[in-house]
Assembly symmetry: C2
Homo-oligomer: 406 residues x 2
């Protein structure tokens, strides 16, 4: 008998009918002779509704209270999923993150899992129960409810798979697997049968909606092979695992697009050592994830530079709040931000041993008349910041240039 | 500095605007120099929506899972209320029932409070926080989420007031206080400045929506004086306390109407000792609250009797499920139920020392052409079961007969 961890995202459990359909799939896994642990997200739309409600009451709600609020979303789904399994005659019990032993640090709204104590999960499994665990949430050592941030339910599933030494970890979502590009932008995008952790990591970091980086990092660290697949059909998905020799023969695995970027520029930062560190330390302390960073010498010839960087839209207000006093303190100029930005990336572990990938990408963008605002590169990824209005056109151009539909 | 416990019902926190308005009231209590603990219910409609959702998935949802589901309602409100207080510049922290130390037995959906360990509430108060506690919910010793049943938030407030030795306990609701009758049925009903625990108990048991019996019982046991008042205005409410000599001079304090009754009849129960006990034990084990009970000798002259009793509508399906096998086992006849029933009661501690109250009530009903189906009496209450269609007419007739508007 093997142990399967399954995770279902918000769309998969978006209404009563879908929850019933997910329950059938879960029940089948048990009928096939497996022990089953299920992690579910909040029903789609619920988290957004709660955030909206909170903002009606406070423009920048306290993060501890935000966690208290948002944790209700997943708690609702676990109870309903357990009921749906009961309706099919299965034994099932739901657990909150706290009850499942997901212990975290105190960084509310973006907590990190610090320990896993799945004793109760194991007891229930022994009693023949399907165990439904609320994703996205945990509890601190002193019993405060925390949430794990975006993609937190994936993290819950992978962490549980690691702690329980599960044989299989399946991430059910509303997409069929990982594609060479977003099929909505690129009609001839192709589903990948497998992808390495590092590639998926770079794609996640580059805005691919399949999975957040931290979940993939966690899986990589503990070498948890997992499958991303659809909860709407029985098609095989994409297997995510350690890179193999075979994988390295492909130069570019996929193209990824992040339309959720905001570009900040702090003008006329005095050109003294330590000032950049001051800015980015403050942002780090505020738990703002800064993505691309560029520093331009000012054209005026003065001893100042312009510093630009990108963040995700969610952090816009918070970033502004952190930057304003610092800019004053260091006597920098205006702070501007630009919301209509998108980040386009090409990713592939084969890139390491091939030169000319960047030039090829820039050429494709140039021919498509797409202007490049910022560039950043890693060992296996090249990203450019472009205008949001060019995003789809640019993705198709790059996808075609690297022959990804074949 | 005194300690105030305030409780706000679902209507009082029914939307963002009302939560903000409640927050102002709470803040004012702190500004007046008090320590404040607040208990809130789920936003009105939320619990019903969750129940509806659950029933879409399972006709009779598992009660453990139901508690898991319903507890999210109050958890949502506490977070939002804390945020609203932050928006006013107050220090405030929310707690779930579990975090506030509300320990209960294992009777899911109708749990009883077995212990109170409000250590964290006290710590937060010491730090100058307003503490917002989720009503209606608790946790078992082995960390399962429970709910306290209807009116559970009142119980949470009164139990916390007792455990914290609060100076004042205020139950804010959508009514102004306790009236001599439901003002919607009886336009000249009058607000009572005070009422004894026992009278309110009988009115609660008789369907008065102000408060559930168990909360009043709890307050009586620990001698917690509390005030029922409106969250919509600043009018003084009704003080609920131990009976005084003065109170006994009033024969009838009020008239109460319960439109939520269902009358069950088990026909031709063999007339043998122990059979009634068998029936009502089974119902008690199923946590069904049986209200009025009448046993009629069958007209046919056989050695059987008809047993009738009333329950609340909520328990209809469950009661049926429990009765069917028992009726078969004891070889009784058909089980019928009648949903369109209402229970009308007159309540007053002065009744003890006055005779003729029942006769007076029945006469008023007779003159109003209201047919009486069942009668039950206690020391300070007389109840009759009547047709739902006669309910308002009967209430007005009895209210007038006892001169309650003066």
């Amino acid at each position: 008998m093997s142990l399967i961890v399954q995770k279902y995202g918000g769309t998969s459990v978006g209404n009563a009918e879908r929850i019933r359909s997910v329950a059938k799939r879960i029940k089948k896994a048990q009928d096939d002779g497996h022990q089953v642990v299920v992690v579910v997200s909040a029903m789609s739309g619920v988290t957004d509704d709660l955030i909206k409600l909170a903002r009606e009451i406070h423009p920048t709600p306290d993060e501890r209270e935000m966690d208290m609020l948002l944790a209700t979303g997943e708690q609702t789904t676990v109870a309903l999923t357990a009921m749906a399994l009961h309706a099919l005659g299965a034994k099932a019990s739901s657990l909150t993150g706290a009850q499942a032993g997901i212990v975290t640090d105190h960084v509310h709204t973006k907590a990190k899992i610090s320990d896993l104590r799945p004793k109760r999960v194991q007891e229930l499994l022994k009693q023949g129960h399907i165990v439904i665990v609320a994703g996205f949430q945990g509890v601190t050592e002193d019993n405060r409810i925390t949430t794990l941030g975006r993609g937190g339910s994936d993290l819950t599933a992978i962490a549980l798979a690691a702690a329980l030494k599960a044989d299989v970890c399946q991430i059910f979502t509303d997409v069929d697997g990982v594609y060479t590009a977003d099929p909505r932008a690129v009609p001839d995008a192709r589903k990948l049968p497998e992808i390495s952790y590092d590639e998926l990591l770079e794609m996640a970091g580059a805005g691919s909606k399949v999975m957040q980086a931290r979940s993939v990092e966690f899986a990589k660290k503990f070498n948890i092979v997992f499958e991303v697949r659809s909860s709407m059909n029985d098609n095989p998905g994409t297997l995510v695992k350690k890179e193999s020799k075979d994988m390295e023969n492909v130069v570019i695995r996929g193209v990824s697009l992040d339309k959720n970027q905001v570009k900040f520029t702090i003008e006329r930062v005095p050109d003294r050592p330590g000032l950049a560190a001051k800015i980015f330390n403050a942002l780090a302390e505020g738990n703002i994830n800064v993505d691309m960073i560029v520093q331009n010498a000012s054209s005026s010839g003065e001893k100042t530079t312009d510093v630009s960087f990108t963040i995700t839209k969610d952090d816009l207000a918070k970033t502004r709040k952190i930057l304003d006093p610092i800019a004053q303190e260091i006597k920098a100029g205006a702070i501007t931000h630009r919301e209509n930005a998108a980040k386009l990336s090409v990713v592939g572990i084969g890139m390491k041993s091939h030169s000319g990938v960047a030039a090829n990408m820039f050429d494709a963008l140039g021919q498509a008349e797409v202007n490049i605002q910022m560039i950043s590169t890693s060992e296996i990824k090249i990203s450019v910041l472009i205008d949001l209005k060019d995003a789809e056109k640019a993705t198709r151009a790059v996808h075609e240039r690297f022959g990804l539909s074949k």
